[in-house]
Symmetry: C2
Subunit: 654 residues, 2 copies
């Protein structure tokens, strides 16, 4: 055991890192039947000290900032150090159109990497989103996987983690405060005093700060001496002149707080009557979360933060975060948040958890920097499996058209998670409702329902193929499924063009329940280099909408409301036409209507309106109402959550 | 150097830890003149890896959770391990009535511990509050001290730290969301369906959760079978029946966001018209922050969280967090936050940074657990210096009457920080305004103004004596002070009963500028055991108000508005009469009026109203308007803050 270590450290010191397998010591599972609750399984395993895992996967000590012994932030300098190393295979895991219960995408992702890294001696890293903390206290289960395919400790994963979402919240709300306060100060001060406060006399001298000089440049005022501005230039500089009707920037909290969906702010007498309607969204809906996920590095993040459009001025021009002077402050708040978080699966294999943008109003994928880091760490022969939120029509499409377009990375294969339950629902089965018991059509064999549901599977397989990726269908098996049901799905998948379709039982067996999936993925990634985007940057926005709707959803046509039509023109004129589109559509249907199951063809998709997320770098097309703030139910799971103050252990969390 | 280490580890292993000095290796200072900016000084020093400092002060590896290499959380189990060790001397650092610029309390605290630990070979720890992040982006400077008496790295200290304030924010807002949501569900559901949702049928069975059983007990319903409740009991259990007019629970953000001071929530159509007026405060104003600071351990914290009163029901009874079912969830969110944070001074000596409750509506002191931990770590011959916010009339009084009453710890001495500048202001000098240049009366010798200002100093000296503590006056010297000015203050202090009065120049010289203060403190703590509280628990609330106002402020009488009178009776009837009082008064005057300087006698203090912080464990007496939400100025310091994306360094922060 000593010799390989020496060889490795020698070759690393020589700047020529080995591409071979890590010396990773997996954690053994003791499988119990029936499968206990997620938190019981999570507790039953003792995680490795995260610094040991970091060493095992080739990170240097100075690249690892431990946050306690079970999670660590990884410096982006590790990517630079490994720049010359080849990338591993890049696998995106997505799903068919899910039931409201979810079909086990995260669980399958974890089962797959556990199989690869703990059983197949491959370097493999799972890249996952950090979940919003809000729903943890509502009705949703955790997002750390489940059963014997989990990230541990699941309470760290689901709560706080290393504070990235808190940093996003802080940055988002600082910008919101500065926006309203600036409007207030402009409304209550004349040009001259306003200017003199913005560029104050300090020790007899007025000086523009760097960020103010940038604003002058945007205004085409080529002066650097504050005393040389004309009255008109002073007014131009000092007045952002924001049109309150156009404000697009919401405040956020990472709590399911329905009473904040729509509020009136500024009602204190100190605000002198300048109140306005405003909104809170849940933190992960902040554009800043999408920026964090799409930034290629620290400088790119800062540029994107500065570009974020928060409103328009009274002449219709965009007002950016940079105009409000906050670019540097936001970057400072988010500096540490841009470092990916290392955790481990229940089998002791590496997991990078980083960023968690909404999958409808944003692109629903974990960060680019985490994927880049992982691809270098696993090396040329390794595998990085990354998750894309919701069905392939949403998560995978955005993973490719937004995330990969931005990063330049090219995925090698797509794993499509399907369940018998979801296919039965698409075949006309009764509604599936969280909390309510499942109808027996879901718990007894019913080949007829599955057969009718197969077109949904076929659409999702086709979606992957449209990007030139080999598609592997992972049938996430439930104990109530029959073999005949699995066989029907398997056959249909292969017939529809999947390179493979395999039944997976990671939930009850961990990585050993996913060996066939691991094999299929390894095979699919050999010589898989045919990835291409669905559309080019220079395609007009309208055509981009058509291309996505027709290819990914099976829509016949796209209809824009007159408002959407107008906004489309305005955004194109303002120079945002070259951005990709981010469809904000229900995840529960291939159409815009959550109630419609299966895979309808030639329907009409209506785009209600559009707006730009200029920092993230996409134009959002709103296809129906999407709530950005969930609520708590009458009996939220907070009633079950407790802290054992003797042991410090958390109880009742899933 | 090897032998002492062996002796120590032997004796520690034998459960009999040595009381001798740590093997602490201080960091050397390279003093530069003129003194550079705080961030330049902070950057010029390379901090020790925090794990090394932790070892130096006798912490075991498993008691230290690193958060990167410069800060760490310390497990409370360390207090238990050291239970049998004697406590060090306990020194509280406070100030005279300050100018709006502050008189250097934190700086003096740091200078003192740097002198003790880096120059006098004493075990010494500074205990400090974590500052609110909001003002960092407004106008206030940092709270990490300044010059050569600082905590480093100051950007970690001032931003995020280990996420404790974020945890407080999350917990506070979860409770707020649950409060409004519960009111909504009660308003829109009849008794039976409401009850059936609160105690749902799961696999054919209804079961109360632990927290629901506690509510039943409080209602004196001695049943555990949900199906056995009568209709009336169901109604009693399911309806909190909150009177919206009585809601005391605000939402919080750690941002200076003036537009959130008063808002209307619930305006979305999904809330069906159940809107109401509400408020946001800055996070450190949350009662949860005070709970964090006053909890003796994890279990005590949970009990306090459950006791917090958020509103009253329509019959006038208190509604607690426990009634809302959130006690466990709040404790879970705050579990890690209860661990104190270890950082270091610029001379490499230990600093515990933990909790930062407001100093007016709360008690303005760092946490009890940090002080307890520090007192054990320094051992019997060591020193713990802890800060109390604002002047002695506020911070020190609450430190004694609230914090020490709760912890049972007894301080040995009080350091009173005074400046020539503040005394001149109290003597009738012109107003001191942040941002504006100082009047020359403050920068030239003016013995007359100082002389007239001395009564303020005398009142604060007397305040310490009232608690039986020896008072050491630390004159925080400015470069514009004259020797004659210092001498006048020194003489007056000793004449007024201070055991010593010394001039300190830590800002320009670090610990070496505070050696005389260190000496004075060491001497004062010898045989200093006369501490006593100002009043007993069983003194009626009204008498407590009188006692504090007369003894600490020099007031002649206390006047209660009719509303305050009524609330006082209500709170006494509700069983809160045995709690200490927390005076919410301006810090800028000994009176209730910020404009009145000096030390007036026999004035009337008016109490506008009172409310209970039942979890923190005090009754707040509002003497005048206190804003719980600061605003941003026209040109906040965000304009200067930037991130150097090449080096990752933060620029423009103070």
């Amino acid at each position: 055991m000593i010799i390989p270590n020496i060889i490795r450290s020698c070759s690393m010191a020589a700047g020529n890192p080995l591409q071979k397998s890590w010396d990773l010591v997996p954690l053994q599972l003791k499988l119990v039947k029936p499968v206990p609750s997620d938190i019981v399984i999570s507790r039953s395993q003792t995680p490795k000290n995260i610094s040991i895992l970091a060493k095992e996967i080739g990170l240097a000590d100075n690249e690892v900032s431990q946050y306690g012994s079970k999670k660590a932030k990884i410096a982006l300098s590790a990517i630079d150090r490994l720049r010359s190393r080849g990338n591993g295979a890049y696998v995106v895991v997505c799903g068919i159109t899910p039931t409201p219960l979810g079909e086990g995408k995260s669980t399958t992702l974890l089962g797959l990497v556990q199989a690869l890294a703990a059983h197949c001696q491959r370097n493999a890293i799972a890249c996952m989103r950090q979940p919003s903390q809000g729903p943890t206290f509502g009705i949703k289960g955790g997002a750390a996987g489940g059963g014997y395919a989990q990230v541990i400790p699941m309470e760290d994963f689901n709560l706080h983690l290393t504070g990235d979402i808190h940093a996003v919240t802080a940055a988002n709300n600082l910008l919101a405060a500065q926006l309203d306060t600036r409007m207030f100060h402009e409304a209550t001060q004349r040009d001259k005093p306003l200017y003199e406060r913005l560029v104050p006399l300090i020790k007899g001298e007025r000086k523009f700060s760097k960020i103010q000089l940038r604003r002058l440049q945007r205004l085409c005022i080529e002066k650097t001496d504050p005393d040389s501005l004309t009255d008109e230039e002073i007014s131009q500089f000092a007045r952002l002149d924001i049109n309150p009707e156009t404000i697009m920037w919401d405040r956020v909290v990472d709590v399911n707080d329905r009473y904040l969906r729509e509020i009136m702010v500024g009602l204190s007498p100190t605000e002198k009557g300048f109140y306005r309607r405003a909104h809170f969204a849940i933190s992960v809906a902040s554009e800043i979360m999408a920026v964090l996920a799409l930034a290629n590095n620290l400088d790119d993040m800062k540029q994107r933060l500065g570009r974020m459009v928060v409103a328009f001025n009274c002449r219709g021009g965009p007002i950016t975060a940079d105009d409000l002077g906050v670019t540097g402050a936001l970057a400072v708040l988010l500096r540490d948040a841009l470092e990916p978080n290392l955790m481990q699966s229940i089998e002791g294999t590496p997991v990078l958890v980083h960023a968690g943008p909404f999958a409808n109003i944003a692109h629903g994928c974990s960060s680019i920097v985490a994927d880049e880091l992982a691809l270098k760490l696993v090396g040329k022969e390794g595998f990085v499996c990354t998750e894309a939120g919701f069905g392939s029509d949403i998560g995978m499409e955005k993973f490719c058209n937004i995330k990969c377009r931005t990063s330049g990375l090219r995925p090698n294969a797509m794993v499509l998670v399907a369940t018998v339950r979801a296919l039965k629902m698409h075949g006309g089965g009764p509604p599936v409702t969280p909390g309510a018991p499942l109808n027996k059509q879901y718990t007894e064999e019913n080949l007829d329902l599955i057969k009718k549901g197969l077109p949904n599977l076929e659409q999702h397989i086709s979606n992957g193929q449209k990007f030139g990726m080999p598609v592997i269908v992972a049938i996430n098996c439930f104990s109530t499924d029959s073999e005949a049901e699995h066989e029907m799905v398997r056959e249909a998948a292969v017939k529809a063009g999947a390179v493979d379709a395999v039944v997976c039982s990671h939930w009850s067996k961990g990585g050993s329940g996913c060996l066939n999936l691991a094999d299929a993925v390894i095979r699919a990634c050999e010589n898989s280099e045919n990835f291409h985007l669905l559309y080019e940057d220079d395609m007009p926005l309208l055509d981009k909408l058509y291309t996505v709707a027709q290819n990914m959803y099976g829509a016949g046509r796209v209809e824009l409301t007159p408002e959407a039509q107008k906004t489309l023109e305005k955004l194109t004129d303002a120079g945002f036409g070259a951005l990709p589109v981010c469809m904000s559509k229900t995840q529960l249907s291939l159409t815009g209507d959550a109630k419609i199951k299966g895979a309808p063809k030639d329907f009409t998709l209506t785009v209600q309106n559009l707006y730009v997320s200029a920092g993230a770098g996409f134009v959002v097309a709103m296809c129906g109402e999407i709530s950005k703030m969930p609520g708590l139910p009458t009996r939220p799971c907070i009633y079950d959550i407790d802290l054992n103050t003797e042991t410090g252990e958390i109880e009742g969390l899933f």
